[in-house]
């Protein structure tokens, strides 16, 4: 395939992050694993937002649903009554292995995105932004109070913490490959055509609605997978899959460059690296003999300033929304018309 080289950049970056994670102490390794999960989420966002140019604030709902699915299926049966006393009857005795729970999480994310997408993909622009936000609010509201399907406001404790570097790395690569395969497929090309010029794409017979729905479903699938990984990484609580995660992952996508897969991966890694370093520095660290002890909350401020600055100074992101090419002239297609 002619474009296969575009896969090299993202995969090498993910692999490098995973390998780097094996070299550090166990406590630091968590940051790398978390970063790789974030890469999966941001790649899921890219599949829809990057290719369609339509903003979605709702993808973290699918991450949350994935986390809830994998979490409920993975808590040991003996501990379910303690953590989730009001769990629906048919879920109480269900228990699956790690990989199965991830697969089911991904499927649930995909189905949820498909169902939500059927009405919502008719909207674009601001209406789409607000409607997807509404999806996030509804999901958050229901997961907070519906104790028949999860722990409600409690954290998902006792979920086996199986998401290590290897699993998170493999999953991130899977997400990248799926996103790449989608973007290079007929569907991905048609969707990007609608992003660049809606009227022209319609004129050649592309159905904007159908193409967006396909992308939304694929990205919901990846988001569900990422949610499954997340719940196996740390005890997820309903507020940890809400506004803050929406903000940070959108920031990553926009900072990297929303219109390319390379941009999504670069953004996720760069912002994660900065964010993790600042989080460490908030607990006190020393760099080159300087002792740094930042007050808690600095990370959010710096990331906020960075995101605003990138949007103002370079709205197409660090990579300019372009894929990494090894030879020839950089492909400039989407950079000039980058929308998100």
């Amino acid at each position: 395939m002619r474009h296969l080289e575009e896969l090299i950049g993202p995969v090498v970056l993910v692999a490098a992050a995973a390998l780097l994670g094996t070299l550090v102490s166990i406590s630091t390794q968590t940051y790398f694993t978390d970063t790789l999960v974030k890469v999966s989420i941001v790649v899921a966002l890219y599949v829809f937002i990057g290719n369609s140019g339509v903003l979605s604030f709702g993808h973290i709902s699918f991450v949350a649903l994935g986390a809830w699915t994998a979490g409920v299926l993975s808590v040991p049966t003996s501990e379910k009554p303690a953590i989730m006393p009001n769990l629906a009857h048919f879920l109480v005795h269900r228990h699956t292995g790690n990989v199965t729970s991830l697969a089911i999480a991904a499927i649930v994310g995909g189905i949820a995105a498909f169902v939500v997408g059927i009405p919502l993909m008719r909207l674009s622009g601001l209406a789409a932004g607000i409607a997807t936000f509404a999806v996030l609010e509804i999901t958050h509201n229901i997961l907070t109070y519906e104790e028949r399907i999860g722990p409600g406001q409690n954290a998902f404790s006792s979920v086996p913490e199986t998401t290590g570097l290897r699993q998170a790395g493999i999953a991130a690569v899977v997400c990248v490959v799926v996103a790449f395969a989608y973007a290079r497929s007929r569907y991905g090309r048609l969707l990007r055509a609608t992003r660049e010029d809606d009227a022209a794409a319609r004129a050649v017979g592309a159905s904007v609605y159908r193409q967006r729905l396909i992308a939304f479903t694929v990205s919901g699938f990846l988001a569900g997978l990422a949610g499954g990984l997340y719940v196996h990484l740390l005890p997820v609580q309903v507020n940890s899959v809400y506004l803050d995660l929406t903000f940070i992952t959108l920031a990553m996508l926009v900072v990297g460059g929303a219109t390319s897969l390379f941009g999504a991966v670069v953004g996720a890694l760069a912002v994660s690296a900065l964010d993790s370093w600042l989080a460490v520095a908030e607990n006190g660290t020393s760099v080159l003999g300087w002792h740094i002890d930042l007050p808690p909350g600095t990370a959010e401020i710096v990331v906020g300033i960075l995101m605003a600055a990138v949007l103002i100074l370079r709205p197409s992101g660090l990579t300019g929304g372009r894929e990494l090419r090894l030879r020839g002239v950089p492909w400039r297609g989407s950079a000039s018309r980058a929308q998100v």
Binding site: L123, V254, T298, E300
Partner: protein, 301 residues
């Protein structure tokens, strides 16, 4: 004394009206800026939050009420102007989505700064607390703030309407929200109109801050965040392009949440946000241009 259906008493109805009035003001504040800049300001709630912290600090320092309100206006207006110069101006002409994400970033930035500065526990604004006590009108208890909120909102909206329809700068603003580039060609000065819109919107945020702190005196970094999300939904549902539909949208969603939140028992009202946002999605699907937008113009491709 109760209205038969849903067990709505007069206090609930008055609270619903008050919340609707406050949300209507927020809707106008968001709508004014959208009119001239085509920018949805997600950080509007954080302006309110900043004003609320100003009020809380003033009451902590024992300032008199008028001084607290002056401080609130000063802080919110300064921040509005800063936001316009540092964020809105460089973003002018970008796509609405980029601008929305940028104001999303500004919102989180301001919230993190507040968190760093004041901590997550928040502060209490007490100087206007006496407005929370009830007035007894014809045997019915109604909290003073409910009446004050409705009156203040009506006065603000009337003043704004006078400004927009009876003055030259108001005419310029209306022209600019209708067609920005054409109005510039006809001699409307862009920066002046935008600055005025931002200032008016900031002043409304300060008014909202004063009234919201009376209703809920505990000011935390996420103060008014939920309200902003709800108002934004209301504004888009009402019809963002025109001031009156936007105001009606804000009022409706505020009134509905206020009344339903007060009338439903807790085990049902906890799902109120889900219901409200489901209704928002439904309206967007049925009437993408807004519930209250009855104009005949069709958006061009």
């Amino acid at each position: 004394m109760t209205v038969a259906i849903l067990n709505i008493d007069w206090q609930t109805l008055a609270d619903g009206l008050a919340l609707g009035a406050i949300y209507a003001l927020m809707a106008v504040g968001i709508g004014l800026v959208f009119g001239v800049l085509r920018l949805v300001n997600f950080a509007y709630g954080q302006l309110v939050m900043a004003g609320a912290f100003a009020l809380a600090l003033a009451s902590q320092w024992g300032w008199p009420v008028w001084a607290a309100i002056v401080l609130c206006f000063a802080v919110v207006l300064t921040l509005s102007i800063a936001m316009e110069h540092l964020v809105f101006r460089p973003l002018r002409g970008h796509s609405p989505a980029v601008m929305l994400v940028a104001t999303f970033a500004v919102a989180f930035l301001m919230q993190s700064i507040a968190l760093l500065w004041f901590g997550s526990l928040g502060k209490i604004a007490t100087s206007l607390a006496y407005l929370n006590r009830p007035w007894t009108l014809a045997g019915v208890d109604i909290r003073k703030i409910a009446v004050v909120a409705v009156v203040v909102a009506v006065v603000c909206l009337v003043l704004l309407q006078v400004l927009l329809t009876r003055t030259e700068i108001g005419l310029h603003m209306r022209a600019a929200s209708m067609d920005f580039s054409t109005s510039r060609m006809l001699g409307v000065r862009a920066n002046r109109v935008i600055s005025l819109a931002v200032l008016l919107s900031g002043a409304l945020a300060a008014v909202v801050a004063v009234m919201l702190t009376v209703q809920s005196p505990l000011v935390t970094p996420d103060f008014a965040l939920r309200d902003t999300i709800v108002v934004l939904a209301g504004v888009v549902v009402g019809g963002l392009n025109r001031p009156i539909p936007a105001t009606l949208g804000g009022f409706t969603i505020g009134f509905a949440t206020g009344v339903l939140g007060g009338a439903l028992p807790t085990n049902q009202s906890q799902y109120l946000p889900a219901l409200v946002f489901a209704a928002v999605i439904l309206v967007l699907l049925v009437r993408p241009r807004g519930l209250f937008d009855f104009s005949k113009t069709v958006e061009r491709v």
